[in-house]
Every structure is written in structure tokens, then in C-alpha cells.
């Protein structure tokens, strides 16, 4: 009973110290909140409620072809909501604007575009993109591939009809009026097909789960990944703060005083760990609440599993802090090592906001990531939150994390020098 009281009073003292350390609180609490909101906000902004991209890219269009296919492509481009199109007449002018970063891309329709399609010879549309903006480049090229697909169908159909008709004397013998009516029929067929293509594709692909419900992917999932990812990354920043605080006490001599107090040694360590463990839980609560309230992340159907995994991760993080404290010689060394460990393990363990997450990517790096607590913590959080897993399904992750935490803790206790 007294030991618990002692532990609590050491923890209480530590919490007062942490609360006064505004720098550490900024790193541990404010920075993840800012970054999480920024990334989530950006991603939400980029996608409309229907799941379509919601962006506006400046592009330049140079249509050197005055005939029907060039016009058709130009018209389609102008109709695309994501593109703010500036029509230019000069290719080098357009290229210059891309070079200066004024437009994200320039789309060039060559002068012989329609002529080539009419004669059924391959042609191309050039998309000059800004090398400094890979994302917008791939968006514009993706859009152009879609635009071109329709014109391709048109060109192919036209060629097919002409080829077959050319095999009879029909065209040769027709008078101008008949020719016009054949052309009109030709065009009618093409338009019917294009409309059909837009309305219902010839081969439909249906994605459903075992119960026959439609499967939806999308941005919500990425954001539901984003919050645990940032949370796990910043939880481990506690390693530097905790270990350097312990060593500062040793350097300042207050640790010795604590040891002289009539309390068991281990309660000093336990009190420290408890205080920092609580700070970790606070981090998780703040970040997940923010995500839930502002960004609609799902928390899954098993809140108890979330609590268990949070306590587990907190234990691993504070044990790792103790381990660093046991091996570092000075407090500033501990701070630096802690920070580097936090970044490196976050990178390898998949806690950076990159999709798909590294810990699920397989291969060499996937295996490597399994050696970090981050990968298991994230797998646990993500399974519970996004995939409705319960406590039972994340038992392997929990077991692994407790094992890691215990190993860290035991080595730390064995090696730590109080004086």
C-alpha cells in the first residue's frame, strides 16, 4: 500500500515537472495535433463527398489541329472540372509557362492530329509537365488518358466502317447526297457507341464482400490510418523526453536525494514510468478525439481493445525510455538518441503518412518493420479502428508488444546506474 502511495507521489511530482516543460509539451501534444489536422484537412479537401478528386490545376492547352478530333479533345478538356484551362496558340509559350511553374502542364494537340486519325495512323498528344510537381503531373496525364480513350474509340469505329464500306462500290457509286447521308449515319453510330460507353461499360467490374455488400475504398481510410500513424510516431518522442529527464535528475543530484528518501528504489522508476505513461495516454486521447470530432475517423466497435492497446504501447514507449536512460551517459545524449530512435523507427515501422503502410507491404522492408514496436502498434490500432477487429484479433500484436516492453524494461533495470 505504501509502495503504491510512494509511486504515485513520485509520479505526481513528475507530472508537475512535465506540465511546466512547455517545449516538451509542444513536441508531444501540439505538433502531432497540428500535423494530423493539416494532413487530414488537406486530404479531405482534395476529395469531394462523392469521392471525386477536388482540385484545380492550371493547365495550358495548345490545339494546333483545327479539325474535328482536335476540337473534340479540346472541348473535353475544357469540360473537366479539375482543370483551369488557358488556351494558348504557341507551343514554346506554353512550354515557357510550365518551366516557370505558372501552369502545372501544357497539353499539345499536334497539327496533323485529325489527319492522322482519319488515315488510321498512330498519333500522340504531348503533355509537358512540371518536373517540380510530380503529383499534378500524374493527375493531368491520368485525365488525358481518359479523354483520349473516347476519341480513340471514335477513330477506331470510323476506320472500321470506312474499311468495310470501301470494299463495296457503294461509296464510289454514291452521289454527293448519298455520301452525306452515309457520313451522317456513320457519325450517328459513333455517337451512339460513345454514349453507350459513358453510360454502361461493356464489361462491368463489381467489387463486393462475401455478404454481397459493395466494397468502398477511399480517403476516409487513409485518414483513419493517419491519426494512429501520427499518434504512434509522437508517442515514441517520449523516449527522449523521459530518458533525458531521468538523467537530468541524476546530473543535478535530485535522484540521489530521492534515493535517500524512505521509499524503495523501484518506486522512483515506477513513478517516472507512470507519469510518462499517463502522458502517452493523454496524447492518444487528444489525437483520437480530434480525429473523431473533426475528421470523422472511425474508432471501430471495440473501445476496450483501443484502451488495452494504448496502455500496451505506453508501456513499451516508457520502457524504451528507461532503456535509453540506462545506456546514455548524459541527458543531452539521451535526448538525441531518443529523438533519432523515434524518427528511425517511425520511418521503418510505417508511421509516416505514406500509403500503403510499410508494415503491410511485405518483402524485405515489411519484415524489417516487424522489428519495431511501431509496426505492431499501428497494425493493432488500424485493425481495430478501420477493420472492426476485436481484442481477440489483435492478441498477437499485443503479445509482441508486451514482450518487447518487458525485454526493454528488464535490461533497463539491470543496467541503470542510480549514481
Amino acid at each position: 500500500m505504501k509502495a503504491i502511495y510512494d509511486t504515485l507521489s513520485v509520479a505526481g511530482k513528475e507530472i508537475r515537472l512535465i506540465a511546466a516543460d512547455r517545449g516538451a509539451l509542444a513536441v508531444l501534444l501540439i505538433l502531432p495535433v497540428l500535423l494530423g489536422s493539416l494532413f487530414a484537412g488537406l486530404n479531405l479537401m482534395l476529395v469531394t463527398e462523392e469521392g471525386n478528386p477536388n482540385i484545380l490545376l492550371n493547365v495550358a492547352l495548345v490545339n494546333e489541329d483545327s479539325d474535328v478530333f482536335g476540337e473534340e479533345v479540346a472541348k473535353s478538356i475544357l469540360n473537366i472540372d479539375e482543370l483551369d484551362v488557358r488556351i494558348l496558340t504557341n507551343v514554346s509559350d506554353a512550354e515557357q509557362r510550365v518551366t516557370e511553374g505558372e501552369v502545372a502542364a501544357a497539353i499539345i494537340i499536334p497539327a496533323d492530329f485529325s489527319e492522322k486519325i482519319d488515315s488510321y495512323s498512330p498519333t500522340e498528344i504531348e503533355v509537358i509537365v512540371d518536373p517540380a510537381e510530380p503529383e499534378s503531373a500524374s493527375i493531368v496525364t491520368g485525365i488525358m488518358n481518359q479523354v483520349v480513350a473516347e476519341v480513340t474509340v471514335w477513330g477506331e469505329i470510323q476506320y472500321g466502317i470506312r474499311t468495310i464500306m470501301g470494299e463495296s462500290d457503294l461509296l464510289a457509286n454514291a452521289n454527293p447526297e448519298e455520301l452525306r447521308s452515309i457520313e451522317a449515319q456513320n457519325l450517328g453510330v459513333i455517337m451512339t457507341q460513345l454514349n453507350e460507353l459513358r453510360r454502361n461499360p461493356a464489361i462491368a467490374v463489381i467489387s463486393e464482400n462475401l455478404e454481397g455488400a459493395k466494397v468502398e475504398g477511399g480517403i476516409e481510410l487513409f485518414i483513419t490510418f493517419l491519426f494512429p500513424a501520427f499518434t504512434v510516431m509522437f508517442i515514441f518522442f517520449i523516449v527522449g523526453t523521459e530518458s533525458s529527464s531521468l538523467l537530468q535528475e541524476r546530473e543535478a543530484g535530485t535522484l540521489r536525494r530521492l534515493l535517500a528518501a524512505p521509499i524503495p528504489r523501484w518506486t522512483v522508476i515506477a513513478g517516472k514510468m507512470l507519469a510518462y505513461g499517463l502522458l502517452v495516454c493523454l496524447q492518444v486521447v487528444i489525437l483520437f478525439t480530434l480525429g473523431y470530432v473533426l475528421f470523422d475517423i472511425t474508432l471501430g466497435r471495440d473501445p476496450f481493445a483501443l484502451v488495452v492497446i494504448t496502455i500496451t504501447v505506453a508501456f513499451v514507449a516508457v520502457s524504451l525510455g528507461m532503456l535509453v536512460a540506462a545506456f546514455a551517459r548524459t541527458s543531452s545524449q539521451a535526448d538525441n538518441v531518443g529523438m533519432i530512435l523515434a524518427f528511425v523507427m517511425a520511418g521503418i515501422g510505417g508511421a509516416f503518412p505514406l500509403w500503403p503502410p510499410i508494415f503491410r507491404s511485405g518483402g524485405f522492408i515489411g519484415t524489417l518493420s516487424k522489428f519495431t514496436p511501431h509496426a505492431h502498434a499501428l497494425e493493432g490500432y488500424y485493425s481495430v479502428m478501420a477493420e472492426n477487429a476485436g481484442l481477440a484479433q489483435i492478441l498477437p500484436q499485443l503479445g509482441f508488444l508486451w514482450l518487447m516492453g518487458l525485454v526493454f524494461f528488464l535490461i533497463a533495470v539491470w543496467r541503470f546506474k542510480f549514481e
Binding site: A24, T99, I125, E126, P356
Partner: protein, 413 residues
């Protein structure tokens, strides 16, 4: 001269601190490795990382064969054939995550021009992003296959329209139409009628090239970490104040300006070393790893000049932080928000076109934003010194403002 000896002393202190050296020089390299996808590239070639896709082929016809060949050829997905009952029981046990069912009428249906449905079934626990990626691959291959059907349908329709024409003009007979559609479809597979070619502007006309995220990340990460050096300057000033050696320096026979510039010089030197290390790694290291690597652009001297100005700006930033923060904790807090927070918002990881849309003019008050713009204009877009005059002017403006505020608020005692 006196400034120089102070600077030399500070550099010695800095390089003794291994943790700081790692943070300043190795951490940025780690970031580049993560963002350039080098981590992913490490594991490639050793094993098959394609997503396995169990297939239940109830059709077995020619169209189904082309579909499977197309999916395998698309990369990223590997088809595996299963019997329906076997696949069904495996997916119920979650031994396989998803399966694609090709209906029995797939070949005949596509040939006749009926709409056919492919069904991708996934286990509720399957990775949804992966399911979506698989679906997109199937949709892509299916729309290629559909081209044949579209040509066929139009030729038939044209034949119908010609039905009233005299007998000798009835050329749209079934065999002829099928053959024509097939010929065109096969040609379209190898030689599409219209191709979209992506190029980047360059001196010698356009090059065909895909801009690469890793290449873009190099300059952004360099800027982030060079500004991070401001923290070192601020902390070194604070440490000297704490132990009282600053006061002793003040007592030395030298001006305050010389003292302060002596404290600034190491930051500039460190920043320049950082740029050298990061760019050297970006240019040569990424190439060695077999990845796309950036170049210094067409005007390397301008890059050097901009780097120097960025180092100046970062140093002034450090002085500002040292002047504003009164305790070590405040230094930590201020740098984590101003240096890391603003650095990330300033375009280190988020493309600038998205930032412009999201934050509007707000990004323009972030020095890192201008530094990123200057470097990407020079290194990625291949522009010259004259084209980054605005960015340079703004960075120098920030430097002067930071330095003046720093000097005004600086407490020498």
C-alpha cells in the same frame, strides 16, 4: 578574426556532440531514403511481391484467357486459378482475401455485345486499399477488351442502317464484321491509335520523363533540416548564457557585433555542410541505389548562392529564437513549431500547388516556402539566377527582419 575564433570554438563543441551531428546530417538522409521509395526498392527482386488474385474461371473461353493474360501483364497482380467450391471455402476461412469470378457467358457475351459482369469478391477483413488497387487493374484490362466489342457493335449498327440498301451493297455481314473488329483490336494492343506522351521541358527540346517524388523531396528535406540548424544556434547561445561563459566573452576585448557574428558563423558553415551532404547523397547516393536522382540544374552557381542565402536566413532565425525564448524549454517549443511545423507546411513534404489551394496566401509568410521555391526553380525546372530574383529578395528580407528583431530583443547579459 575574433569572430572566427569564436566560430571555430563553437564548431568544435558542435562536432563533439554526436547526437547533434546525427540529427543534422544523418536524419535528413534517412528522410530522403523513406520518401524516395528506396526502402521499397531494397526488397524488390527477391520475391514475388505481386498481389495474388485467385480466379474462378467459369467461362474458360478466349475472352477469359485474354482477360487473365492482361491482368498478369499489367503488373502488381498475379492470377491463380481455382475451382469455384475450393475458392469459396478458402475465402470463407479468410485463407484467401479475394477472388475474381468470370461468368460462364463471358466470351460469348462479349462476342455478342451483351453487357457482362465480372465480380470481385473480398473477405470483410481484406485490405480495402489493396482490393481497390486490384479492382482498378481489372477495370483497366476490361476496358481494353471492351474496345473490340465497341467496334463490333458499331459495325453491326451500321450494317443495320444499310439493311435497306441494294443487295450488292450489303457488305456488313457477320464474318466480315467480326474479322474487322479483331484486326483493329489486335493492332490497338500493340500500337494504340492515340497515345498520351508525358514530357518535361528541357534545353534540347522535351525529354520524355516522369517526374519523381524522391527527386523533389531532396531539396525540400535539405531546406527543412538547414532551417533546423537554427535550433542549434539558439541552444548554443542559451547554453553559454546558462553557464556564464557568454558574460566572460562579453568581458573580452571585442565588440558585441563581433561576438554575435562569431555565434552566427558556425550555423552558416553547418548549413553549407548540410546542403553538401544532402545534395551529394541525393545526386550520387540515390543513383547508386538505382533510383532517379536530382541534378543541380543549369545554373549550379545560382544554387550555391541560394544555399548560402538560405543558411543566412536560418542563422538569423536562430538568433531570433534565442532572443525570444527565455528558457531551454521555450527554445524547444519555439523550434518545434517554427522550424519543424512551419517547415513541413512550407512545402517540404506537401506539394506547393496543394498548399497554395489549401492555405492560400498564408504560405507566403513562411521563409521555408520561398527557399523551396527558389531551389525547385533552379534544380528541377532548370531556370537561372534571374528567375529566382524574387525568392532571393524575399529570403534576404526575412533575414534582415529576423536579425533586426533578434538584435533588438537580444539580452546580452
Amino acid at each position: 578574426m575574433k569572430s572566427l575564433s569564436i566560430a571555430l570554438k563553437d564548431l568544435q563543441i558542435l562536432f563533439k556532440n554526436r547526437g547533434e551531428v546525427i540529427q543534422l546530417f544523418l536524419l535528413p538522409l534517412l528522410f530522403i531514403i523513406v520518401f524516395s521509395g528506396a526502402l521499397g526498392a531494397l526488397g524488390e527482386g527477391e520475391e514475388d511481391t505481386r498481389v495474388p488474385l485467385p480466379i474462378v474461371d467459369l467461362d474458360g473461353g478466349e475472352a477469359a484467357q485474354s482477360l487473365l493474360a492482361g491482368i498478369d501483364a499489367a503488373g502488381g497482380v498475379r492470377t491463380e486459378l481455382y475451382e469455384q467450391a475450393q475458392a469459396q471455402s478458402l475465402i470463407e476461412e479468410n485463407d484467401i482475401s479475394r477472388m475474381l469470378i468470370i461468368p460462364a457467358d463471358f466470351t460469348s457475351g462479349t462476342a455478342q455485345g451483351d453487357t457482362v459482369e465480372l465480380t470481385l469478391i473480398s473477405h470483410p477483413d481484406a485490405d480495402i486499399q489493396q482490393t481497390e488497387a486490384v479492382r482498378l487493374v481489372i477495370v483497366g484490362v476490361a476496358s481494353d477488351l471492351a474496345l473490340e466489342r465497341q467496334i463490333l457493335a458499331s459495325l453491326r449498327q451500321m450494317g443495320d442502317m444499310q439493311a435497306n440498301a441494294p443487295e450488292e451493297y450489303q457488305v456488313f455481314n457477320t464474318d466480315r464484321v467480326l474479322a474487322q473488329a479483331r484486326i483493329q483490336f489486335e493492332r490497338a494492343q500493340t500500337q494504340p491509335l492515340i497515345e498520351v506522351v508525358q514530357t518535361v521541358p528541357s534545353e534540347e527540346g522535351e525529354r520524355e520523363e516522369t517526374p519523381d517524388l524522391g527527386v523533389v523531396a531532396v531539396a525540400g528535406i535539405a531546406v527543412l533540416f538547414v532551417f533546423g540548424t537554427a535550433q542549434v544556434t539558439a541552444r548554443s547561445i542559451y547554453d553559454e548564457k546558462k553557464v556564464g561563459s557568454f558574460r566572460r566573452l562579453l568581458a573580452a576585448p571585442m565588440s558585441k557585433a563581433a561576438l554575435l557574428s562569431g555565434k552566427m558563423l558556425p550555423n552558416i558553415v553547418v548549413g553549407l555542410i548540410q546542403f553538401t551532404v544532402i545534395f551529394a547523397f541525393g545526386i550520387f547516393g540515390l543513383k547508386l541505389l538505382g533510383l532517379a536522382s536530382p541534378s543541380l540544374g543549369n545554373d549550379p552557381l545560382a544554387v550555391v548562392l541560394v544555399c548560402l542565402i538560405i543558411c543566412l536566413c536560418s542563422t538569423a532565425f536562430g538568433i531570433l529564437i534565442a532572443a525570444l525564448a527565455r528558457t531551454e524549454n521555450q527554445i524547444g517549443g519555439l523550434t518545434s513549431i517554427l522550424v519543424w511545423g512551419l517547415g513541413i507546411v512550407g512545402g517540404a513534404f506537401i506539394p506547393i500547388f496543394i498548399l497554395d489551394q489549401f492555405l492560400g496566401p498564408v504560405v507566403k509568410i513562411i521563409p521555408q516556402y520561398w527557399a523551396n521555391r527558389a531551389l525547385s526553380n533552379l534544380m528541377l525546372r532548370g531556370l537561372g539566377l534571374a528567375d529566382v530574383a524574387t525568392e532571393i529578395a524575399v529570403l534576404l528580407g526575412f533575414t534582415v527582419i529576423f536579425f533586426l528583431i533578434g538584435l533588438w530583443r537580444f539580452d546580452f547579459d
